[in-house]
């Protein structure tokens, strides 16, 4: 009996989403009367980088440093993860619903004949044999409680859904041989291109987003200044990406990416339902728009009605003053 997590790492660094899954798994372990949270790491990473998982409730790390894993193929990762799960007798497996998790979790579900809740937002409710997990449905417009009916359960946790609090402890790292060989690799990664130097949008806790109200790409300087002052990622609405004012990877909304940051500041975005579908799970929404009738104000926690071109520089100044004071 144990709870297993999958480690997301890059350049010898563990991603924040993994700390979320570790703490979530720790809680599930307590709820299911087991002490063991085992993290499985695949690919090149040092033991010292992995042992910090002990700070987040992990009791043991299994690491297969075979460099085959460094180029992502969901089939290979899920095969190795299934093997580790079977060896340790994991009853619950927790992944992050990010680009890798979305590819691995469904494959793992078939391999282990284990029910999957993809996009979980809360801890499970466990009553006897009933294991129910809440997830976001209808593009953020509702929640559904999904019962997992199989003996092994897989939970793929939405990023930014579980708080990260660093604790104490180190986790022993053991070598793990997943038995994966080069012939298992079917998807050949030719190149990985980085599109942003700052925090990737899906992982950002603070996001500054702007739309057609900015009138043209030449006016994005003030948006970037505000984002930089806050330490936020930048995003945009669909029309802005469609006319190439901003790159497509910044487009949030139904056909773009879905984000759930702690703070979403929408500037000059009216708040069409398709846009809201991508952001309405954000914890706090601020809307700045000169049209007091903009529908986005109905979904906002805080609003400023006025001209963005006047407000944004003042806001950036206020952020800098705040940062200077609060370090």
């Amino acid at each position: 009996m144990s709870v297993l997590i999958y480690v997301n790492h890059n350049n010898d660094k563990i991603k924040k989403s993994t700390f979320e899954t570790a703490l979530y798994a720790r809680k599930v372990a307590e709820m299911t009367n087991t002490n063991e949270v085992i993290a499985v790491s695949l690919g090149t990473i040092s033991d010292s980088s992995l042992s910090v998982l002990g700070n987040y409730g992990v009791t043991k790390v299994l690491s297969d440093t075979n460099p085959l894993f460094d180029q992502f193929d969901a089939a290979v990762h899920s095969k190795a993860l299934a093997k580790a799960s079977q060896e340790v007798g994991a009853k619950t497996i927790v992944l992050s619903q990010n680009s890798n998790g979305k590819a691995i979790a469904p494959r793992l579900s078939i391999r282990l004949q284990a029910g999957l809740v993809a996009g979980a937002t809360e801890l499970p409710t466990i009553l006897g044999n009933n294991f129910t997990v809440r997830k976001s449905v209808f593009s953020g417009k509702a929640f559904a409680d999904i019962g997992i009916l199989t003996p092994i359960k897989i939970v793929s946790l939405n990023p930014n859904s579980y708080p990260v609090v660093k604790g104490e402890g180190t986790a022993p790292v053991e070598a793990f041989n997943s038995g994966v060989t080069a012939s298992d690799v079917k998807v050949r990664v030719k190149e990985v291109k980085t599109l942003t130097d700052s925090v990737p949008l899906p992982e950002a806790e603070l996001v500054v987003s702007a739309g057609r109200g900015m009138k043209g790409p030449e006016n994005w300087g003030m948006i970037e200044d505000l984002a930089q002052a806050l330490g936020a990622a930048t995003a945009c609405s669909r029309p802005v990406a469609d006319v190439h004012w901003r790159p497509h990877h910044e487009h949030v909304g139904q056909t773009g990416i879905t984000i759930r940051p702690n703070l979403y500041i929408a500037i000059g975005i009216s708040g069409a339902i398709q846009h809201l579908a991508g952001v309405n799970n954000s914890k706090v929404i601020v809307v700045i728009n000169k049209d007091p009738e903009a529908p986005f104000f109905k979904a906002a926690d805080y609003g400023i009605v006025g001209d963005a071109f006047e407000i944004i520089p003042k806001l950036t100044k206020a952020v800098k003053a705040f940062k200077a004071q609060n370090g």
């Binding site: 691995i104 809740v117 929640f143 019962g147 030719k190 926690d301 009605v305 206020a318």
Partner: protein, 247 residues
Amino acid sequence: MLVCISKTPDTTAKIAFTNNNSTFDTNGVTFIMNPTDEWYALVRAIEIKEQLGSGTVTVINVGPKENESIVIQKALAIGADNAVRIDATPDDAHFVAAQIAAHAESENYDIIFTGKETIDYNGSSIGGMVAELLNLPYISLANSLQLINTTTAAATREIEGGVEELEVDFPFVISAQKGMAEQRIPNMRGIMSARSKPITVLPPKAVTEFTAIIAYELPPARTQVKLIDPEHPEELIRLLHEQAKVI
């Protein structure tokens, strides 16, 4: 090529529940083909067929008879050649994936497409499950797909803060998202010809469901927006720090 298409409520549909919050209230709801299935997966499959000047695009849907008029006819009008409908209620991802895999097993498709995710259950699970059931490679969240030659395709896949450029040999499963293709509006000729295209209806295979929906809940309404004086944006910063505690 096989394209998996799903029926979802229209983007602007009002979401409500009945039967003590156990059932989605379809009263007054318009249904559509799931946007990423239609705009990206289906259109890219049709484009590839046009480019090659040969090949077949089959669409598959797991759902009741009404889905023929709601989603299947439209897919045929956009340019799919034929359709398969598995006559069952799609309640569980494993159930749906197993139906699709059971059909695909004997058909030797070169590419199986899905959309990135449905806009109702947002699981992003069917493609990966079908791939595992058929023991095929899987490319998730792809925003482009090009054929290199008769055995190999190139794709790009979106990851956090970047893109991966990949190659994979046929057959494979791919989930499509923005960038893959542009939406196509069916023309009159397409709509007319759709009527004569074949729809094969198959009974479902017996499959164990892995999950069950217990109940739904609407999120608490956001409290009314607090408006801040545009002359004093520093007040916003104070509230975000002291009240909302997000900075």
